[in-house]
Amino acid sequence: MDYLLTEEQTMLQDLARQITEERIKPIRAQLDEEEIFPTEIIKDLAQADLCGVIIPEEYGGLGLGAMENCLVGEALATGCVGVATTFGASLLGSYPLLYYGTDAQKSRYLPRLAKGEALAAFCLTEPQAGSDAGAILTTAVKDGDSYVLNGTKQWITNAGEAEIYTVIALTDPAKGARGASALLVEKGDPGISFGKKEQKMGIRASVTREVILEDCRIPKDRLLSKEGMGFIITMKTLDMARPGVGASAVGLAQAALDEAAAFAKERQQFGTPIFSFQAVQHLLANMATKLEAARALVYSVARFIDTKPKDFSKASAMAKVFATDMAMEVTVDAVQVMGGHGYMREYPVEKMMRDAKILQIFEGTNQIMRNVIGLALNKEYSKKK
């Protein structure tokens, strides 16, 4: 399919693909097996200017949009979703700063993020607050020129590796979700520490830990926007990030299809390559069709976001839910096409199937995505009456 990419977009895609081929694929099995954080790959991405795709040029980035970002994420995910997640989680932690930061806040952090010298992390989830994000308990209490934070954030991607943490905390607990604010915490601040590295089913190159805030004192100019804006910032951040998760899903599914199809060409049974069997062809045909539909949706949504619409929650959730459900199905089918070989760790598709599952869970479960879409539809059809 020709998605009418610009010359610049094609160059960016080629560069991300080159890094994936040369630097990610040769070591992805080892990163997964030994749960190694991809420090060197992040350096490679930084050197290629890919850490700053969406960061404005005045802060050292490329100043490009959601579409370019999706192209890079997709390319990385064809190599390893653990790496793509590390990359994507840093963006997730950067969006609040990009959209709500003051010039001073941006100047302090964005150039380092663009150069890949620092990673960011987004800290929302807590032990009792997953899908019910409004149930967070972490507090940020104003004390003179400071805020003092207390609470525990759970399953935070890049925790311990990132330099910059965007923390959603209650500045006015009495107001509940309306009393939440977004604050920037640095790794070196007093009172921030990290829990043990979580042991995950997939995306094992990425790191997931608790972020523990105990009387963590930060200067008051670390507040993003105004007090009480925490959940508005959170929603906008997730709306921005979700097509990126969809792009990871597309990259992952493409890689799984490529592996399965190549295997089906080679593998002989009953005296002929299994590709010649209609049963196998139908599996592959369904995989390829769903994949292309998901890619078309993700690209369309990314391009829509780049037109700077006021509200794109529904479109963003659609891109995430459709592409990630597709990636789960396609990776399961890739293992099926490859049979016993697909189940073995010697082949990359078993990792792809393990990696796919988290895409349906994080950055809003696919059930929550349907809530978001349903809510938007309800609004739309109420207006039409």
Binding site: E8, M11, L12, L15, Q18, I19, E22, R23, D44, Q47, A48, D49, L50, L62
Partner: protein, 259 residues
């Protein structure tokens, strides 16, 4: 520091095909890449520039499409590039190539350092760099695995040999040919690639270099390839799998059978 890096565009395949009539390399239908050793030469040039200051200019001699290789080099961070292309240059042997490149360096106003790869993966002669140094009458250090500079302004070069290395000190200007052990070539950056796309690349021909047609290309070549043939196939090989202990025992048994 004025640095020049000479690169060659070569066919990507290891399976080089030859024209049975002219005995030159067949390039049709094969993707071209920068000779892998030359990427190390470029990387070393960029590193010297970063540590010592200066500029890196990339040179190549070849058909018009060799411009792609130069754009790729610009995308990796080279400051400027010049393509040496002229019908008269066609069919050049290593000497005629070296002479043409040497003249181009002269036209650039000379260089403090010239880096080349130790050899090209198509012709595999390893002669062009050394011949350039000879023509230009400058120092030569081939097969470099490390380059540094001392306070006397000389280059200290470790030359990779079969059993160890040679440490030499050379006056500048010098030509240094490099091995893959010298560094890890960088990835291109998006910003440099964007810039590279727009950068004008001058093309210099025979007249620009002040050469005459008898000195270059086939006419200026001392050597001509008379016959090229693929090496004879090696004997059959076997692949064994098993534990180190089992494999050792099996190997020992086989060796005893052979003697």
């Amino acid at each position: 520091m004025k640095i020049v890096v000479c690169i060659k565009q070569v066919p990507e395949t290891q399976d080089v095909r030859l024209d049975p009539v002219t005995h030159t390399l067949k390039r049709e239908g094969i993707k071209s890449i920068i000779n892998p050793f030359d990427l190390y030469a470029l990387e070393e040039g960029l590193r010297v520039k970063e540590s010592q200051g200066g500029t890196v200019t990339v040179l190549t001699m070849g058909p018009p499409q060799a411009e792609e290789a130069l754009r790729e080099a610009l995308g990796l961070g080279a400051d400027a590039a010049v393509l040496l292309s002229d019908r008269a240059f066609a069919g050049a042997d290593t000497w005629a190539t070296a002479l043409t490149l040497a003249k181009a360096v002269e036209k650039l106003g000379g260089a403090d350092l010239i880096f080349t790869g130790k050899q090209a993966i198509d012709g595999d002669t390893a002669q062009v760099g050394p011949m350039m140094a000879s023509i230009m009458n400058i120092s030569l250090a081939s097969w470099a695995r490390k380059v540094s500079f001392n306070t006397a302004g000389k280059a200290e070069v470790e030359r990779l040999l079969d059993h160890g290395y040679d440490a030499v000190e050379v006056d500048l200007p010098a030509l240094i040919s490099v091995t893959k052990e010298i560094n890890e070539p960088r990835l291109p950056s998006f910003k440099a690639k964007l810039k590279a796309k727009k950068e004008p690349i001058p093309v210099w021909g025979l007249a620009d270099l002040g050469l005459n047609a008898a000195e270059v290309g086939l006419a200026g070549s001392f050597t001509q390839v008379v016959k090229v043939f693929p090496p004879p196939a090696r004997g059959t090989s076997e692949t064994w799998e098993g534990s180190p202990q089992d494999l050792a025992a099996r190997l020992w048994q086989r060796l005893q059978e052979m003697t």
